[in-house]
Symmetry: C2
Subunit: 485 residues, 2 copies
């Protein structure tokens, strides 16, 4: 049993409360179910693990509530994976911190071991590598795929094929990728594709090619692949600066999606050997860090569409397929109620948002030089907020209250401060816009960081019942392995 | 299928997003599991339904994280009910509003029907009564108990025995109680015990006595009861103004608890007829409305101790007992992370809180007349905040930052405004104190109202597997009834 750092117990004077505590600790021994000790019939040949980075319960319900509000009529709209027959709730804390990070949580989900924040499938000391589910699957002769819409060397995907003491060692993670033997990588690219290794300059995609990977950076060529395709490294064309795919809300028409990559991976890997496919919806977390509710709901829907591909596969092989959907942690402390709306909600208002806050920062950067930070400029800003968020004056879809207008004006005038010299604080203005919109829709946030709440686990297929009840995140890969063995 | 009011769909320009939406709606038909159609072997003779009012997932995890921080060493501390083998997630929306209220949610959990906000086991029109689980159990000859630590005529308990168009018709709800035939009522008292009915003045406890109830308002007399005790109406002595029991954190030493009432109910009802016992932890919701994190964690632990009584009973009759624990809705949008602490948490700081915010308001009301609203008065206030919340100057357990001190000072100086004439806004000062403490511990809130997120369902015992996966709150009583039949 791994423990995280415990704080010194505070002085407590109330004996009644102490007695209650004692009673509760006693109660702890009454019911215990150790998930990893349950007997599981073997048999999962095709295994999917979907990880929504930052996708807590509220992110899922918010996406559903948004869909429901947008639906022409009648009835609550559940995402397909929410209807899986088994739900569990999983604790996410790391070995050294209650609120985990994506590396430690990814390691837990990949290896079954709690580790320190920042480690990539290494123990808490950062010196002992921990075998991952994907590596075990390869050892058993199964085919493997690692898919993510953030850079493929990012913490969550990396935890399935790399072993490094720090998630920031992107180049070293890339080296691990090139020699991993994983059959299929797909999605984002590399944050540090170039570096020096063993005295020579290395370009990660080229190294992967040396090691037998077909490197593809074109959607048509990717779609033209046919099984048996050998080892594939597909980097999506048209990435952002961080080598990740675009947010769903910012994708140009016809952008090849996470669902498309998942579908192709299934097609290429299907076969007698069976497969293990991990798909990360990596950007839900990023948007929740920005408290960007409008973009978050689309991102969850985009991830859900990738899960639908696995569900379609399951329908063909229900006796041999297991699908597990979970999150590494919740991000943002998203609540489905705001003090502006109280008991009311109008989630469909989020549909007025046309770009992510991050993309809006870039729009602001282009717009600002042609405008003045004064009352006239502010009027023009309201045309911009109306265009991209529906927020504006009396004719706008969402009419700003005087308080909201005042907050926006203050944030806008604040751009002046750093107009000369450093980059204006677009973020502060954009955050104000995002906050006004989300509060009006009936959503609010408690933090710009991760939170420590438990996350749901949804399971369908062979031995899915094992994933019900309370689990540790470290139970998930152990139970999956039990299911494969 | 019941639908709540749908908002008009916003104009959406992005065809890509529309296509995604279409894909998702298509996906919805792929996996469906209707819980109420699953075949269940009969057999639950003893059934417990525990409803934590306002107790969402985060309230439960916050209580566990608090216990963990307070524990002398090693390992995450789960509440016993969190270790139940089955978890589900239940949607809580009402017929006419996404964010439900306790009456509509109580009706859903009691009758299996969605209704409008405010109705007590009546249909949406408020004219057709809906049979409750407790009434069905009585019809079948089972014994029944309704227990709550708020007033026994409050929305949640009322939904199990009363039928009224409005939760505010407390006197009429009391009349329903007196003629309900429920074997055991225990906990809080009556908000409107007196009124006029059929031309005569009625005192509800007296009417209950006329109808065969033994009315008890004394703990010793209550504990002296022995089976067969007939019909019992136990109102806890020492209630608050709202006829409810004290918050766990405010209870004087030796205060008879919700767990004690549950234990006695079990003792009196155990027998061949079987029983249905509903226990509400009604004040978690109240504290979350106040965003009072320190008192909330103790309230959840107090409720958990009542559930432990059922678990002990289950251990004696595991083949005949079913325990279901859920919530009517989440309150407050509690998040397990704050912008003050970012990735850090120190939940044990909550142990410095000695009284609820509500009780602190009363302390302030007594303290204020002897003090001045000036800098000297503020210094004295800091002695008070240190005594009751640990928050103070350099020698205090929790040293206030300059920003926090500034916020407190501002809230304190604000008391002056209404010092002459109306009641000073103690609430605003107390809320500031509660917010500072919870943010320092690593907790924060999004609203003072309820929220629309799904709530967990925990199940143990006969047919507990039925409660896994996604449910509507209306499925819970249907599944319980299936289990009994």
């Amino acid at each position: 049993m791994v423990s995280y750092e415990f704080k010194k117990r505070s002085d407590m004077r109330k004996t009644g409360l102490l007695a209650l505590l004692a009673l509760l600790l006693l109660g702890l021994f009454l019911v215990r179910c150790d998930h990893t000790e349950q007997a599981a019939p073997a048999g999962a040949k095709y295994v999917f693990l979907f990880i929504g980075d930052g996708m807590g319960l509220s992110q899922v319900v918010a996406a559903e509530a948004f869909l429901t509000d947008l639906s022409p009529g009648g009835g609550y709209v559940s995402l397909p994976f929410r209807d899986f027959p088994v739900n569990g709730l999983s604790n996410t804390y790391a070995a050294n911190r209650f609120i985990t990070g994506s590396a430690a949580a990814g390691t837990a989900l990949a290896t079954g071991h709690k580790t320190s924040v920042g480690r990539i499938s290494m123990d808490t000391s950062g010196s002992i590598p921990l075998q991952t589910l994907a590596e075990k699957a390869m050892e058993k002769g199964m085919r493997t795929a690692i898919i993510s819409n953030v850079s493929i060397d990012h913490a969550t995907p990396a935890a399935f094929y790399a072993h490094q003491p720090s998630r920031n060692m992107y180049f070293e993670i890339g080296l691990d990728l090139a020699r991993s033997g994983i059959d299929f990588f797909g999605g984002g690219g590399f944050k540090e594709p170039d570096g020096s290794h063993n005295g020579r300059e290395v370009h990660i995609p080229a190294l992967a090619q040396e090691n037998g990977y077909t490197y593809i950076n074109d959607v048509e060529a990717f779609l033209a692949l046919e099984a048996p395709a050998g080892k594939v490294l597909f980097v999506h064309p048209g990435l952002t600066a961080g080598a990740s795919m675009f947010y769903a809300i910012d994708q140009p028409e016809g952008y090849f999606s996470l669902a498309g990559i998942t579908r192709k991976a299934i097609e290429l890997l299907e076969g007698d050997e069976g497969f293990f496919i991990m798909v990360e919806g990596g950007k839900i977390d990023w948007l929740c860090h920005d408290n960007d509710a409008g973009a978050t709901v689309w991102e969850v829907l985009d991830f859900s569409a990738a899960i639908d591909e696995a569900i379609r596969f399951y329908e063909r092989y229900p006796e041999e397929t297991l699908i597990v959907v979970t999150a590494d942690h919740e991000t943002g402390g998203l609540g489905l109620g705001s003090n502006v709306m109280k008991y009311d909600t109008e989630y469909s208002l989020l549909a007025h948002q046309k770009v992510s806050g991050e993309a809006f920062n870039r729009i602001l950067a282009g717009w600002l030089p042609d405008n003045h930070i004064n009352e006239k400029g502010f009027k023009k800003l309201l045309m911009l907020t109306e265009e991209y968020f529906g927020l504006g004056g009396e004719e706008a879809p969402i009419v700003l209250s005087s308080v909201e207008t005042g907050r926006l004006r203050q944030a806008f005038m604040g751009l002046e401060v750093s107009r000369e010299g450093e980059e204006p604080p677009y973020d502060r203005l954009t955050l104000t816009i995002l906050e006004i919109l989300s509060h009006r829709a009936g959503l609010a946030w408690t933090t710009f960081s991760h939170t420590g709440t438990a996350v749901p686990v949804y399971a369908l297929g062979v031995n899915s019942m094992l994933f019900g009840g309370q689990t540790e995140n470290t139970d998930i890969p152990r139970l999956i392995w039990q299911t494969i063995e």
